[in-house]
Symmetry: C2
Subunit: 335 residues, 2 copies
DNA sequence: CTGAAAGCGCTTACAG
DNA sequence: CTGAAAGCGCTTACAG
């Protein structure tokens, strides 16, 4: 059976297609009686409006594109889920693109979005060359999440302030020999902000030692890379506390330390970043920084919709939260 | 600047729109010279075909819908990522719907897909009433993944055989007092299959004890629920081995046992399901069953495309793999 | 190999 | 409050 169109509905209801359209989109005045007839006919036929036709005619798609490094990372998948939720309840549809932090995949993906005529795009995370985002933002509404690009509205976390605070608390809790362990920055400004916050704090302490390891390979399989780093390098450095830029890195350290017979937090304290679900259940549980993925997603989406509707928009910043658990004993009152 | 259309390209190239269309879709014979001109003009204008118009005209959308319980679960997010990859490289676009294992959300979501005129749908996992899937499969091409629905092509794992094998190996390794711990089945046939496999094995062993806990609340936050179950109930039962239906459940058990001072695997052995990334790094690392999300996704996608193209299709089954780690010491040669 | 024309399903000024 | 008509951007028989 062919799908029912507005014509079929019109015929059954005994009115014109214009009227049917008006009733169904419901933004003009229509007599109650006709509306009734139309709705009845539509219901009876199981009429489903054809989005493609509507898009074509109205020159808007009621869809958005979301570009993220990979949809299977815990944080990003949480964002994906949230955006889906907000978008659907606002009548928008979502097209996801995985950039894999690779400019050419990102470009291909953005082309798909362009062909589909999305009304706007959200770029979440990632640290590729910003030129593409810059370019696109001239053609279509764009918002970035967890990343800043010049002249593009963004929603970010206060990484720098948070890590500064974290480092200070650790210092006040008695730690002196610090190791900062994270991925190389590339263009990830959330990562460089975290490191900057660390330095903001540590530079004021003349009796503290700061060692830094920034590893390119930590962009890959964080658990296994940090595991090996601990075995081969960190276990010899023996810092008092390791501040990492990611929970998976912290978890890798914890697993490796166990194998090496080094006790966490007694001999080395460790902090993570992201508050992954598993971090609360690790042994020891991981002291970390929580970033609210749902909040990020919500603000990104709302900001984008405002842009699409030509309302004024601005960038915003979300506060992170330090979660004290077993892996790094931060003393009461130092936060 | 208005977006370039096929008309603009035609004008610049000095040909008709029909010719432009033919060149750009590239399936009819065209003189090389004209093709050249058209391509040049298109390039120059930065022409991007309008998908909505093409959809409307051709009555197919080159898009598919994917319905899954939640896109942020590790297994499902891996499926999402894979499907995205295969779909994009085949020129398809993907619309994701989260059912939340709730029939009314699923129905709403499917309606969105229907409006968008997706060419087909993949339903992955979940255990809601199958009537909706049944219904939809009459209207549009449908494939189910990790779940079976009557008369719908499916791609599933061999859960029953695997768990039977796992149970047998544990028995041969010396375990006698078994606890099976999992979610209540509802309509999740992967879950009931696992339990069936357990029984297939255990029923042959007259000197083995089998205790079963099937908890509704394990459909929620598995880590915390299993943690509490261990503290309040399982630590008193003290089985020799716990077969769980999920790695998160196994991880919760491990965390709780540590708090209770019960040693795993020495006092109780534990197995999981899914081979989550974290399971390899847990302490102890988790003996589990690996299900290849990428393979599932690939076969689902290919099967769906075959259906859409009216090729014959059939259901398929993927073998799972038992991964022996520290949490349950399966003896060499018992597998 | 190429063009003129019809039509996919919808919405929206325009006229009444 | 309602209808006839035009048009969104494309593709594809049809004719040459």
């Amino acid at each position: 059976m062919r799908k029912a169109t507005i014509k079929d509905v019109a015929k059954i209801a005994g009115v014109s297609t214009s009227t049917v359209s008006r009733v169904l989109s419901g933004n003009t005045s229509i007599s109650i009686a006709t509306a009734e007839k139309v709705r009845y006919a539509a219901e009876k036929l199981g009429y489903i409006p054809n989005t493609a036709a509507r898009c074509l005619r109205c020159d808007k798609s009621k869809s958005i594109g979301v570009v993220l490094p990979d949809i299977s990372g815990e944080f990003y998948s949480l964002c994906a889920s949230s955006i889906l939720k907000y978008a659907h309840s606002a009548g928008y549809t979502v097209l996801f693109i995985e950039s894999g932090n690779d400019l050419s995949s990102e470009t291909e993906g953005v082309n798909i979005l362009l062909q589909h005529g999305v009304d706007g795009m959200i770029f979440i995370g990632g640290g590729i060359d910003a030129s593409l985002i810059q370019e696109i933002s001239k053609e279509v509404s764009v918002v970035t999440g967890d990343r800043k690009v010049k002249n593009v509205p963004s929603v970010t976390f206060n990484n720098r302030v948070t890590v500064k605070k974290l480092t200070q608390s650790l210092y006040k809790s008695g730690f002196r020999k610090f190791l900062y362990l994270g991925e190389s920055f590339n263009s990830f400004d959330n990562l460089s902000d975290r490191y900057a916050g660390f330095n903001d704090a540590i530079n004021n302490y003349h009796d503290a030692t700061a060692i830094t390891i920034l590893e390119d390979s930590l962009h890959g399989d964080k658990l296994s890379v940090s595991f090996e780093l601990f075995e081969n390098k960190i276990s010899e450095i023996m810092p008092e506390v390791i501040i990492t830029s990611n929970d998976l890195i912290a978890q890798g350290i914890i697993s490796a330390s166990y194998k090496c017979g080094i006790k966490i937090p007694e001999q080395i304290a460790v902090t993570g970043f992201d508050d992954m679900t598993s971090s609360a259940y690790y042994t020891p549980s991981v002291t970390t920084v929580r970033q609210d993925a749902d909040k990020l997603s919500k603000i990104c989406f709302n900001t984008l919709i405002d842009m699409i509707e030509n309302k004024p928009v601005s960038s915003s910043e979300i506060n992170q939260e330090i979660i004290i658990r077993e892996s790094a004993d931060i003393k009461e009152g130092t936060l």
